[in-house]
């Protein structure tokens, strides 16, 4: 029996005070079914994600699909500890042997999780990269954060990963601000992988890219998965991206997981009305 690498339970992130138990209809957060909205009619609370639970196993790719506003990115940023969830737990086998909730980690522990144990690729490169530090410098920053000290080692490691992600080495000392979107994504991927993390989070890694560039980035992700045997959570609104990369998939809507299953089952035999709509809307 293989144990989960990451176990997420009841992850909830809300904005505004909740009217739990006070409103006559009951707060959005207390409803079990899909409420059809992410904001509570009684108190105005916004539930960006609500009671999200799932497991990620070593070496697998888990997909998360859903329309914009469904809470996909909120889940990713919660896992990377960019913000603290309102409630919920996540146990990560690489951190304290999975015995402690990562959302209760103290600051040094959070740094360790972010710098050593996980990597992330954001949809917008400017969130994941410092565009006015060179491409090599961006990777080096992450290695420095993970206590690499020798300049020569850092530089050769950064060069390795940039080469692996097909960023031309003669551009290593250029600023990513002057790179194309596809190349910026590849620098982000190099940065995310450089510390050999146990888990990589990809948030819409190919959205907004030209089809040929998108193909290059997807192939890179596929190769990385094969060569590094790293577990990946990939968020996309694009079913074909999920179909290519993920073995299992969660479908989110209004902050909730409405369906989960094997990716081929989600695509060919969707059960939930929303998943059926999503699949039937594909081109």
């Amino acid at each position: 029996m293989v144990l989960a690498l990451l176990t997420v339970r009841g992850l909830t992130k809300t904005y505004g005070p909740a009217c739990r138990g006070r409103g006559s209809e009951g707060c959005l957060l207390d409803r079990e079914d899909d409420p059809g909205t992410s904001s509570c009619a009684a108190c105005g609370l916004i539930a960006a994600c609500s009671d999200v639970s799932f497991d990620v196993y070593p070496g697998e790719v888990l997909g998360i699909v859903g329309e914009s506003g469904s809470g996909k990115t909120t889940v990713m940023r919660s896992l990377y500890l960019d913000h603290m969830p309102t409630s919920g737990e996540a146990y990560f086998a690489a951190f304290e042997a999975g015995r402690h909730n990562i959302f209760e980690a103290d600051r040094p522990q959070r740094r360790r999780i972010r710098n050593y144990l996980m990597g992330i690729v954001y949809q917008e490169a400017r969130r994941g990269l410092n565009l006015l530090v060179t491409a090599g410098g961006n990777v080096a920053e992450r290695l420095l954060a993970a206590d690499w000290r020798s300049v020569a080692d850092i530089r050769s490691k950064a060069a390795d990963y940039l080469a692996r992600t097909e960023v031309p080495l003669d551009r290593m000392d250029d600023f990513p601000a002057f790179f194309s979107n596809g190349m910026q994504q590849r620098v982000q991927i190099a940065k995310a992988l450089s510390n050999s993390p146990n888990l990589v989070l990809l948030d819409e890694p190919t959205t907004g890219l030209d089809v040929s560039v998108q193909a290059g980035v997807l192939d890179l992700i596929r190769d990385i998965r094969r060569d590094f045997r790293v577990a990946i959570v990939v968020v996309s609104h694009d079913l074909s991206v999920i179909g290519m990369l993920a073995e299992r998939t969660l479908v989110m809507r209004h902050g909730r997981v409405v369906e989960s299953g094997l990716t081929d089952q989600i695509l060919e035999d969707p059960q939930h009305p929303y998943t059926q709509l999503l699949v039937s809307s594909a081109l």
Binding site: A215, D219, L262, Q265, Q276
Partner: protein, 251 residues
């Protein structure tokens, strides 16, 4: 001597509820039961829309069965109900024991044909060895080395089908689910694919195959399951079911 079945399908039903069409319900399978033993090949026959592909997809769990049981006996002797097993277990069974060959090749884009065949079998390293075997099998099936390094998306239908079959047969699997495995092939290639499938059967692989050609059926199958409107109309040994009534082609 008859071996214990590797797969027991019992009262399998599959109903699709299409919410996008106002909750319309379509019954694809209705109470289907049959067994398959190691080394046996069950031919699935019946008109279009009878439920043949739905049956294969339920066994592979691409479709989730609405009711009934699909008991698969694994190599280690456990029984896994493909209708209800958890996702992780299904993925494990798919990786090690059951292969599904859809009628049309679905492969990772921008991957060389030889890798499309080799990759699913290279889970514990040894990629070079697996790739060599993949090349040899593709050559046997008439896909020449220069073609093996190109992408199957540019191949003809018959070439894609041979890549598809090679991918399933490169390493032994205990159960093969085949959706018209020779439909796009010329006579010579059809014989070569049948040779490979027959060899897999002799090695103990069980098969369930949708077949529309009486020649292929007689060469490969020993049992016939006739589906009619989602129900098992007839099931029995090849000699006892008049398969020719349901399929085309000359014997």
């Amino acid at each position: 001597m008859e071996q214990a079945p590797i797969l027991r399908v019992r009262d399998l039903t599959k109903t699709f509820t299409m919410h996008v069409l106002g909750g319309k319900r379509v019954e694809a399978l209705n109470g289907v039961s049959f067994d398959v033993s190691p080394g046996q090949c069950v031919a699935l026959v019946g008109g279009s829309g009878a439920g043949k592909s739905s049956l294969l997809k339920c066994i592979y769990r691409t479709y989730t069965a609405t009711g009934g049981a699909i008991a698969f006996k694994t190599a280690s002797g456990d029984t896994v109900d493909m209708a209800s097993a958890d996702e992780r277990k299904v993925l494990e069974v798919r990786r090690d024991e059951i292969r599904y060959v859809p009628q049309f090749l679905r492969a990772q884009p921008r991957m060389a044909a030889v890798d499309v065949v080799a990759m699913p079998h290279a889970s514990n390293g040894r990629l070079e060895e697996v790739r060599k075997d993949a090349g040899a099998m593709l050559s046997f099936l008439g896909i020449q080395p220069e073609l093996q390094s190109s992408y199957p998306s540019v191949f003809s239908g018959g070439e894609q089908q041979r890549v598809n079959v090679a991918r399933a047969l490169l390493r032994p699997r205990r159960l093969l689910l085949l959706d018209e495995p020779t439909s796009a092939l010329d006579a010579g290639n059809r014989e070569r694919v049948l040779d490979l499938l027959s060899a897999a059967r002799r090695d103990g692989a069980a098969m369930i195959a949708i077949i529309h050609d009486i020649h292929v059926l007689q060469a490969l199958a020993d049992h016939v399951l006739v589906l009619d409107n989602g129900r098992a109309a007839e099931f029995g040994p090849l000699g006892r079911v008049d398969a020719a009534r349901y399929v085309g082609g000359q014997p």
